[in-house]
């Protein structure tokens, strides 16, 4: 049951530069939401800081525009408090892989059921074009006074190494292709990364639409490409990780997009909590009753029982 794309649009004017790759990402998200018929009131877009992090304001769903680098921990808190919500993180390459890299890694270790959409344009746009963590060594985009002398982080490889269970790459100008990746990522149970290559029309004169034209190819069109772990055996996981890794390293004349790796067999953080604590599954902690008419749900008698270990009954003899 699909709903209309209009349902996910706000009347806030997008102040991105004309031609910005972010437009394609928002369009792909809105289309994906419509096709999945997501309830905007039960969907949360969480972002960091930067051009791409303005995304929540342009999507008609709950939006939480947080701090530079911190979208993932905010999103994690929201999701763990109420796992019934669909939680999506939007952030730039500087946000997620520079200042927020620790959180980018940590969420993979937990396999929290959220989707991370990485807006990857190799520059810090909103601060006028500095090198981001995905710009390669000796590359010099136009506002750099000298070439970049730091190496790039490989988002796909880092996500796989960190334990993400769905890892894909899209391209902001291939909206329908990206839409399908977003749908698959949201449907996936566990932490999902979509590394979205996007031209920055103002500050990135190297990775332009022209650059990507002819270089990008779709993994799913490669004969025999199957990124999904079907049986959770060590052998199959090793093989799929190795193949994904090999593809992650490809850059230059041929750049792959599509799904690199999917392992649907890893339990999510929420499932791990529920295993330890079955109540967690019955009712999200955010919705549990903690009081009645201002009186705590835990009575004095409950307290005496619950903390009996700490209570000494005085026996004077």
């Amino acid at each position: 049951m699909a709903s209309s794309v209009a349902r996910y649009k706000t009347d806030v004017w997008s102040d991105w530069c004309p031609g910005c790759g972010d437009f394609g990402i928002v369009a792909a998200m809105q289309k994906a939401f419509a096709e999945l018929d997501l309830d905007p009131a039960q969907t949360v877009i969480v972002s960091g800081i930067g051009c791409s992090s303005k995304t929540p304001h342009y999507i008609h769903a709950n939006g939480v525009h947080t701090l530079h680098g911190r979208a993932i921990p905010f999103a994690t808190g929201i999701k763990l408090a109420n796992p019934r919500l669909t939680v999506i993180v939007n952030g730039g390459d500087g946000d997620l892989l520079g200042i927020g890299a620790g959180h980018f890694v940590a969420v993979g270790r937990r396999n929290v059921d959220i989707t991370v959409i990485l807006h990857n344009n190799q520059v810090y746009g909103l601060t006028k074009g500095q090198a981001s963590p995905t710009l390669r060594r000796w590359e010099q985009v136009k506002s750099l006074p000298r070439p970049n002398i730091q190496d790039a982080v490989n988002p796909i490889a880092l996500a796989i190494a960190s334990g993400y269970t769905f890892v894909a790459r899209g391209y902001s100008l291939w909206v329908d292709h990206l839409k399908e990746l977003i749908k698959a990522a949201i449907r996936h149970k566990g932490t999902a990364l979509i590394d979205v290559l996007q031209p920055c029309v103002t500050y990135n004169n190297l990775y332009t639409a022209d650059f990507y034209k002819g270089r990008l190819y779709k993994l799913e069109e490669e004969p025999g490409w199957d990124p999904i772990v079907h049986e959770p055996s060590i052998d199959e996981i090793d093989e799929k990780v190795a193949r994904a890794w090999e593809k992650a390293l490809e850059w230059g004349q041929r750049i792959p997009v599509g799904v690199f790796y999917v392992n649907p067999h890893v339990e999510t953080y929420e499932e791990r909590i529920a295993k330890l604590n079955p109540l967690y599954q019955e009712k999200p902690i955010a919705l549990q009753e903690i009081e009645e008419e201002g009186a705590p749900a835990i009575s004095r008698e409950d307290f005496m029982k619950f903390f009996s270990k700490y209570i000494v009954e005085v026996d004077r003899r």
């Binding site: 706000t10 009131a41 949360v44 969480v46 800081i49 929540p56 304001h57 008609h60 709950n62 939006g63 939480v64 525009h65 947080t66 701090l67 911190r70 921990p73 905010f74 994690t76 808190g77 929201i78 763990l80 408090a81 109420n82 019934r84 919500l85 620790g102 959180h103 940590a106 330890l276 604590n277 109540l279 967690y280 019955e282 009712k283 902690i285 955010a286 919705l287 549990q288 903690i290 009081e291 201002g294 009186a295 705590p296 749900a297 835990i298 004095r300 409950d302 307290f303 005496m304 029982k305 903390f307 270990k309 700490y310 209570i311 000494v312 009954e313 005085v314 026996d315 004077r316 003899r317």
Partner: protein
Amino acid sequence: MPLRDLLLLIGGPQGSGMETSGQILTSALARRGYGVLSDREYYSNIVGRHSYVHMRISSYTIPRSLTYPVHMAGFIDAESVFTHTFDIASGGWLIYDAGTDPIKITRVPSMEPQVRDRLLEKYRSHGIGESIKDVVEYLEKEKGVNVVPLSFKLILNTLRQKYNMTLGQAQRFRSTIIFAAMAALLGLDPDSVNYGIERRFRGREKVIEMNKFLASKLIEDIRGDYGTPLALEPSSIEIERLLIATGNDMVGMGKIVGGLRFQSYYPITPAADESTFLESHESLVIDGEKKGNILVFQTEDEIAAIASAIGAGLAGARSATATSGPGFSLMVEALGWAGMNESPVVVTYYQRGGPSTGQPTRGSQSDLLFTMFASHGEFPRIVLASGDPEEAFYDAINAMNYAERYQVPVIHLLDKFLANSTFTVPLPDWGRIRIDRGKTLFEADGDFKRFDKSEPISPRPVIGSGAITWYTGDEHDEYGHITEDPINRLEMYEKRMKKLEIADREIPEEERAKLYGNGKDFLLLGWGFVKGTALDALEALEERGLKGAYLHLRMFIPYPSRMVREILESYGVGRVIAVEHNIMAQASLATTMNTGFKVGKYILKYTGRPIYLMELVDAVQRIVEGGEDKVVLTYGE
């Protein structure tokens, strides 16, 4: 004549079980209705450095301060005997390992050079030699200390033979020797000691049996030789039940009763014990009835800790994070986000010695001004501070109430002394507990004006309520969308700050500051753990003819300005003395800022050790009678 009030010290290398000795004694004493307070002083170390428990026992009241000298000391190793040579009262009792007699102070590798040099200088001036034997002889002959030399080796050998254990295994029972010897001199009955053992080692039958065997044998032997010279009079405290808990535990209990559902943390001393406590109580199934569950979330750093707690709060869970100075330093940017987004979150802040790593395991009150001003820009926050275990419990609940009622970040300040001390505490009074969720909505719909300007405190539908809301750290309109419009800026800025005026009107000043006593000779102005010592000092000073009062500050934002100004002015500048664990007298500066009253007399301590009763009493006399302006306290190793 039986004693009413008694102080003792248990010392040994970190990891040798002094805390266990203290816990067993505390349980045994509480069982018979005595009040107990103990401070634990330890290095930032896992095993081997000098550590001790400083305990006060009372038959007539629940103790609230510690002092020196002590009536009884039990030491596991030579370093403790050296370190605390001058802490034992004339006529007091010393229990120690006679096997350490030949050890010289210059041969204790774990002792810090400064401590050794300071002690050696004192030994020289008192004509004491360098060995344990020399020190013990001095104590016995010059100070009239009664010495109970025990051969730990022989005692542990009997245990090894009976239970066929290695020397290493037997070493664990050194703590048993100490508590048993102390119980003997205190005249504690065997049943109460056994109760203490069973309570400590719950479910570990073999350990219980071995402890009971060794303890009962030692008690019999020692009592045969020395009698019960430190017997306590029966307790006259009218109480049926006592909680035995640390400050960390009390906050944890308060949070559970108050409906906490999400606690995030990154491990840090002295805060982590609270999160561990909560993790042990995550499942609130009581008598088969499901009351819910708490999620304790260990994060990758303190930034993620506060960010996830704010996130959980947006979704409607009562949420908090617990930390200390270095952790809070990392949290401040997110604190501002919570302020800007009118999001409830509680930061439970256990102060330790700073700056930087400072003194991780030592106490301090040096972060008050930091919490009041942390993060850029201006936004409302509430800062409250607890001074004893009961305040810690109720404050933990109220902090969550304030956070939701006023939609602000709340910082609940405690310090290491309160966090790590063990107390006997009366059970909470349920009549004092209310849960107030303010304008939190769990059902709503449509695009919602989350920041509706028509009132300073807007209705707050949680994410998932059915409403659609937006949040941003940018200045925003009523829907939470970014706007830089100057008029909206002014209105939103004022809307946020007005919430503080409402809190100032609604929270009674009597709950934010409390005046104890009515003597007019002086007024002590303090906060946090200073409370108990200050209250006992009032009584002790009254016996010396000085009648004073203590003004206990509980909330710094919003500050109870009217009440405090009136009280301070009634004393006048010359008679108000700030008592604090920092060098700047931070609470007095906050007071000046809020009342215009300039404090001019100070009693300060910043060695990392608690303020002891005898030094506070002495300092007040020096100021009130001797005319001094400032006294810096230094007692304690």
